[in-house]
Symmetry: C2
Subunit: 192 residues, 2 copies
């Protein structure tokens, strides 16, 4: 199985990085090919310039590679913190640029045609707001964004997400248990 793991977090050594590392390690131990991108470390450019909107625009080599990778992948894993109910701008820009109309999906008379349809996705997010407050105040927007607005539109219906909270209040034991859960989720979603 070809898999792509993307992390959008600004600090090497963060718990997000530990989650991504556990996912990569588990995918590899299951025999899957893994392409891994730490968008901050790679200084990915999140800004979609106007010219790039054109479906026939000649993509730069970095973006071309990201597009080819998601097209070739059977599974996608995305890791990021909850910033204002959304991914950090770095990862938002990866979405804006890589999930390109004309390359990854198209609008046709019949609706959306997506080259990602049928792939599997796992989104692992972190936050500090306690679960009950998150649901009461904000309704867990990341679930809707990833499940419906992004992967729903792209036909990636085989979708799961787990949010880990509250990171700031968590103990080392809690974090270790969460990383075990990451491995378990990866095994479940992307079996050998």
């Amino acid at each position: 199985m070809n898999t792509v793991v993307i992390i959008g977090h600004q600090r090497p050594g963060s718990f997000n990085h530990a989650i991504a590392a556990a996912a990569v390690e588990e995918l590899q131990s299951l025999g899957h090919e893994v392409v891994f991108h730490d968008l901050y470390a790679e200084k990915f450019d999140p800004i979609l310039p106007h010219e790039e909107v054109r479906p026939d625009f000649e993509l730069d080599s970095v973006l071309r590679r990201h597009c080819d990778e998601v097209l070739a992948a059977d599974g996608l894993v995305v890791v990021h913190p909850n910033w204002w109910g959304m991914p950090p701008a770095m990862l938002k820009g990866w979405i804006d640029r890589v999930f390109r109309q004309g390359t990854v999906y198209s609008f046709t008379a019949a609706g959306v045609t997506s080259k990602l349809a049928g792939k599997r996705a796992l989104v692992l997010t972190t936050s500090n707001t306690p679960r009950e407050d998150e649901l009461r105040l904000y309704g867990d927007p990341l679930e809707n964004l990833w499940k419906n607005c992004i992967f729903g539109l792209l036909g990636v219906d085989d979708f799961a997400r787990r949010n880990f909270e509250s990171i700031i209040l968590s103990t080392p034991e809690q974090r270790a248990a969460w990383l075990e859960e990451v491995r378990h989720l990866v095994r479940e979603r992307f079996p050998r």
Copy 2:
């Protein structure tokens, strides 16, 4: 009244730019001070680096100015298209960096203390998805994000938003009427 108008759209001459221009013109004709930022044109850097998370970090002059402006403003107007149920990465990064913990708001034992509390906001967005489909498939995530996740947390309860759709299907007459509506909304929200 001090006002700040922010636009996050990649193409000069876009309908988003026409909306922002109408808002700026109307605010000025009402006698308000207007600070206007076209984030793309100004090449705003949307990436929050790790060091900048620290509340006592010495901000660069551009970011310092943006923070000072929103702190000094009585009213905020934000204009952007709906990309994946969210603002473009450029504007997401403005939110990530400008609405800084320690500068704009703080977490205290009593909850969130925000220096933006009591200000007024108007968010003007555009999309191509027909309204019924947007509500049925996605639940209009931008309303929740701006109203609750961003301005709700920041104590900006005097909030209004208008989404204009479908841009791609609209006629010149429809767009002209929408720009009139923008002027009306601005007069209503930010009276002389």
